[in-house]
Structure formats: structure tokens, C-alpha cells
Amino acid sequence: MGKLAIETRGLKKSFGKTHAVAGVDLAVSAGGVYGVLGPNGAGKTTTIRMLATLLRPDAGEAQVLGYDVVRDARSVRTRVSLTGQFASVDEDLTGVENLLLLARLLGYSRPRGRRRAADLLDAFGLANAADRQVKKYSGGMRRRIDIAASLVVPSELIFLDEPTTGLDPRSRNQVWEIVRGLVAEGTTVLLTTQYLDEADQLADRIAVIDHGKVIAEGSSGQLKASFGAGSLHVRLRAPEQRAEAERVLAGVLEVQVEPSTDPVALSARISDPERVARALAELSRGGIDVTEFALGQPSLDEVFLALTGHPSEETPKEDAA
């Protein structure tokens, strides 16, 4: 261990007046999944595109698998593969044609390429759709062919740009399984995501980025410790009991309890989930009827609020082209 798959120092990229990436330092060790978490427009895609040699950084340095992304772009390209955020296969072609195209470009002979394409389609459960145009695929199938296209030749490092954005939960689970399978075989995966639970489930380490800068980095446990374990949401039967409930909860949880706009609801950021059970018991002892309660992981918004003091804002994407 200790070998770094990706190392960047002060990586910067601007488009006109927009500082898409404003000095990113990353150290990603080989093996495992590294998650880059941030809202739209935070600079995730721009960062990945620089690492995959598609964009030249304005300033700073980046080494991928020991090669400089500018000076040794070609060496980087032979060792990594990229699955972009938008369909990174040709939608007019069929599944098998897409894979054969890449196999041929990467040096397979036609017969071997055909065999490779068939094997990949089989492994990704797409054999029945092999001769259908990709534009007729469902969202989940499209994502799988995207990822399969990145695996035509073995890569030491795979970039997945928002692999599950817009997928239904079942397809999302399948993508997660694929990512876990890749890692089990020793591939390093760098993925970007807008979903905290995705980063939490998959990534060994997470970098949170906002306005083109890394604002927090660590394992998901470390990060949670810094922004709390989540929040408790409670709904009461009677609005007139809310003040009393607020007092009880604040007493047991020892945090601030926020009344929400809903006149019967309360929420609180909690640091210790163990206390929640006691707090709820205390409410019922006090004769306060709770109709609903939920204990949730902090949302991306809450993470950002905790880390930056401002909610994650949806800036219009300028780096998506």
C-alpha cells in the first residue's frame, strides 16, 4: 500500500470567468473506491476530465498512476478508462457494434474483438440487447453498456462520472455491484456522485468538493464525525404540544431542536443515535403523541451546511459541454 494512483497539487481550470476547479489537492491510494462528492457545478466533472487527459489544467500538477497528465498524456491514456456522465457510447450503434468498435481501436483482431464483445455483453446481462441500438436501451442498460465499454481492455484505474445519476434504485444497485466487483479484482475506481449515501456505501475515502475546492476529505466515518450522524425528524399529533416536545428533545439530545414550517414537525441534527430511543421514550412518558419519526443520514445539503455554513447551491453547469 501507500502507492498513489492519483496525486494532484493545486489543480486549476477556469472557463472564462468561472473558476470551475480552483486548486484541488487529491491523494488517492491504489485499490478501492475513492468518492468525489459535491453538488452540480462543484467542479467534479472538470476535475475528472483533467485527470483523464481531456482537458489541460491551467495550473497545478496531476499524476495518474505515476504519469503526468500533460507531459505523459499518452501513458495515462493507455492505463485508464473513462465512463462519462452522459452516454459515452454511440447511441446510433448497437451494443455489440459499440464494443467491437472499441475492441478494434484498442488492437483486437476482428474475430477476437467479436468474442470479447459477446463476453462482455453476457457478463453485463445485455446479450439479448446486443443487436439493438443503444438509444433504445433503458437507463440502467445504457449505464451498463457504458461501463462495459470501459472494460474492453483491463485498466488499472477507472473513472466513473456520476454513474448512477438518474437511475432507478434497482439499476443503481446493479451499478454498485459492478463497482464492488471491479474493486475486488484490484481495479482502482474514482467516482463522482451527488449522493452522500452512494459515497458512504461504496467509497473507502471521500473528498467533498464545493466551488472547485476540496472542503473536506476522509473516510465516511471521519466525515460523519465532523458533520454529525444525521437528523431526527418527528411529527406530533397535536400542534399545541410542540413547544413541550421541543423542550424534552433538546433536554435529552443536548442539541438544538428546530421547529419546521409544518406546525406539528420538529427536527434536530444529532451526534449520537443512541440517545434517540431515550428521547422518544421521554416524549411518550410526557404524554406527547408522536405520529411519525424518522432517523435519516444527513443529506448533501446538511453536509454542506455543516462544512461550509451555506447550503449546496445548484449553480448552472458550465462545464458539462
Binding site: 483523464a52 462519462g84 446510433d92 472499441l102 488492437g107 442498460m141 455491484e177 475486488a184
Partner: protein, 281 residues
């Protein structure tokens, strides 16, 4: 943890299958520029197969132009449609091809916006090959357009004195020139943002380029300054050569001119295109 029963509809990705396919992957030796360009050319042909509508311009343009010019101007310019057709058809062939090349830029502009180009650019292949391949695929389109013009001409009464050999040679030269001229459109397609603006600007280049030439009429009756402009327009030389070859003479000097201007077009617009392509965001 693996497949749940809800996933039966489409077969799930199992860990075993994934491991198998990952382990079976090999990294063959890297193919050369010719091989990767031809592979991208194959992609262009597949796209014609899947989206045959894109052949509308190569079929409709040439038919429309040949019929319109032959019947509208034939009588007035050369006394009869038949007479004019002998002069016009080689010229129309040039114009049809130049018009079809425009589409290269528009198609590329649409194509390059898509995610798949990111993948192409991140592959360890000779960098111009996606563009060269697209242009090679377009040669098929030019050939179809040329065949349509020539067949229509033969039906209408065009009689090339140079015979089949002259016709084939002139089309071959036309393909070379079209391939080289396409680099102008690829450059535009990388500078301009939308396919519409590419189409607009291309038209502005295209119309003077083809009309201010000897495609439609002999420039002898035009003012001197205009003749001078026509003389330096490479399209004029191309039309002269195509006309000569089809009617049985081999204008060697003019052929040299066409080849030189072809090389110049690639030498100028090829590198600019590649720099733009490399720095594309």
C-alpha cells in the same frame, strides 16, 4: 447481497461473470494510425446503415441542381439543354460534391458534443483518427452523390467523350479534393458552437466559392477583376480538370494545380483542426 428476485426481468450482473470477463481481458499491441482511421471509417458507415435519412442531401441536392440548371439556363446560355448539359454536368458534379462536404462539418459538430467523443479522445489512439475516419466515411457519401449526378446526366443526354476511364479518373480526383476541402469544415465545426451556425457560415463560404467559378458559365464575358478572382479559385481549376477528363483531354498542368491546392488545404486546415480538437473542452 447479490441479485434480488426483482431483477429477474433482465439478467443480473453476477460477480462470477464479472470476474471472468475482467480476467479474460487482454491488452493487444496498439494498432497504427491507418487501422484506427479505418475503424472510425467503419463507424461512419454503420451510422449510414442505422440512420439512412442522412443520405437525403447526397441524393436530393445533386438531382435538384442538375435538373434546375440544365432546364432553366440551358436554352438561354448554350442554345439548347443538350448542348449546355455537356458543359454543365462536370461542373454540377463539382458543385454537388463541394456542397456535400459541408455536411461533414455539421455532422461532426453534432457528433463531437456527445459523450462518446470524450471516450474517443481518452483512448490511446492516433489523435486525428476519429476525424480522418469520419472523412473516410464521407467518401462513400461523395461517391453516391457523384454516381447519382452522372447517371442522371447520362439519362438526360450527357455524353462524355473521355469514356468510362475519364469519368472514373475525374471522380477519383474529385474525391481527393473533397477529402482535403473537408478539413475547412472540420475546423469550422470546432470553432462554432452549434450545428446551425456551422451550416450558416459554411453556406457563406460555399456560395461564392462555387458560383464565382467556371462551373456554370465560361467567365470570358465577365469583368476583368472578376476573372482574376475566378482564376485563383481552386474550384475553377477543379471544374476545368473534371470537364477535361470527362471530355477526353488530360490537362496535366491543371491537375497539378488541383493536387497542390488539395495538399495546401490539408496542410493549413488540418493542423488548425487538430489544435482546436486537442483543446476542445
Amino acid at each position: 447481497m447479490n441479485a434480488t428476485s426483482a431483477e429477474q426481468a433482465s439478467p443480473p450482473v453476477t460477480e462470477d461473470a464479472l470476474r471472468g470477463v475482467l480476467l479474460a481481458g487482454e491488452r493487444p499491441p496498439r494498432p497504427g494510425p491507418v487501422s484506427t482511421s479505418l475503424t472510425f471509417g467503419w463507424r461512419a458507415l454503420l451510422k449510414i446503415k442505422h440512420v439512412p435519412e442522412q443520405l437525403v442531401d447526397v441524393t436530393m441536392f445533386p438531382i435538384m441542381f442538375t435538373l434546375m440548371f440544365a432546364y432553366l439556363f440551358g436554352g438561354a446560355l448554350a442554345g439548347s439543354t443538350q448542348e449546355y448539359l455537356q458543359f454543365l454536368l462536370p461542373g454540377i458534379l463539382v458543385q454537388a460534391n463541394v456542397m456535400i462536404t459541408m455536411n461533414t462539418g455539421i455532422t461532426l459538430n453534432t457528433d463531437i458534443q456527445k459523450g462518446v467523443f470524450d471516450r474517443f479522445r481518452s483512448l490511446p489512439v492516433w489523435r486525428p483518427s476519429p476525424l480522418v475516419g469520419a472523412l473516410l466515411g464521407d467518401l462513400v457519401r461523395y461517391s453516391i452523390g457523384s454516381a447519382i449526378v452522372i447517371m442522371l446526366g447520362l439519362v438526360l443526354g450527357f455524353r462524355p467523350e473521355g469514356g468510362a476511364v475519364g469519368v472514373v479518373l475525374s471522380v477519383a480526383l474529385l474525391l481527393v479534393f473533397s477529402f482535403c476541402l473537408s478539413w475547412l469544415w472540420t475546423m469550422l465545426s470546432l470553432i462554432l458552437r452549434t450545428p446551425n451556425s456551422v451550416a450558416g457560415v459554411s453556406m457563406m463560404v460555399m456560395f461564392p466559392l462555387t458560383f464565382v467559378s467556371n462551373i456554370f458559365v465560361d467567365p470570358k464575358t465577365m469583368p476583368g477583376w472578376l476573372q482574376a478572382v475566378i482564376e485563383v479559385n481552386p474550384i475553377t481549376h477543379l471544374a476545368t480538370v473534371v470537364r477535361g477528363l470527362m471530355h477526353g483531354s488530360v490537362p496535366a498542368g491543371e491537375i497539378g494545380w488541383v493536387l497542390v491546392s488539395s495538399v495546401l488545404l490539408v496542410a493549413v486546415f488540418g493542423p488548425i483542426t487538430m489544435v482546436l480538437y486537442r483543446n476542445k473542452k
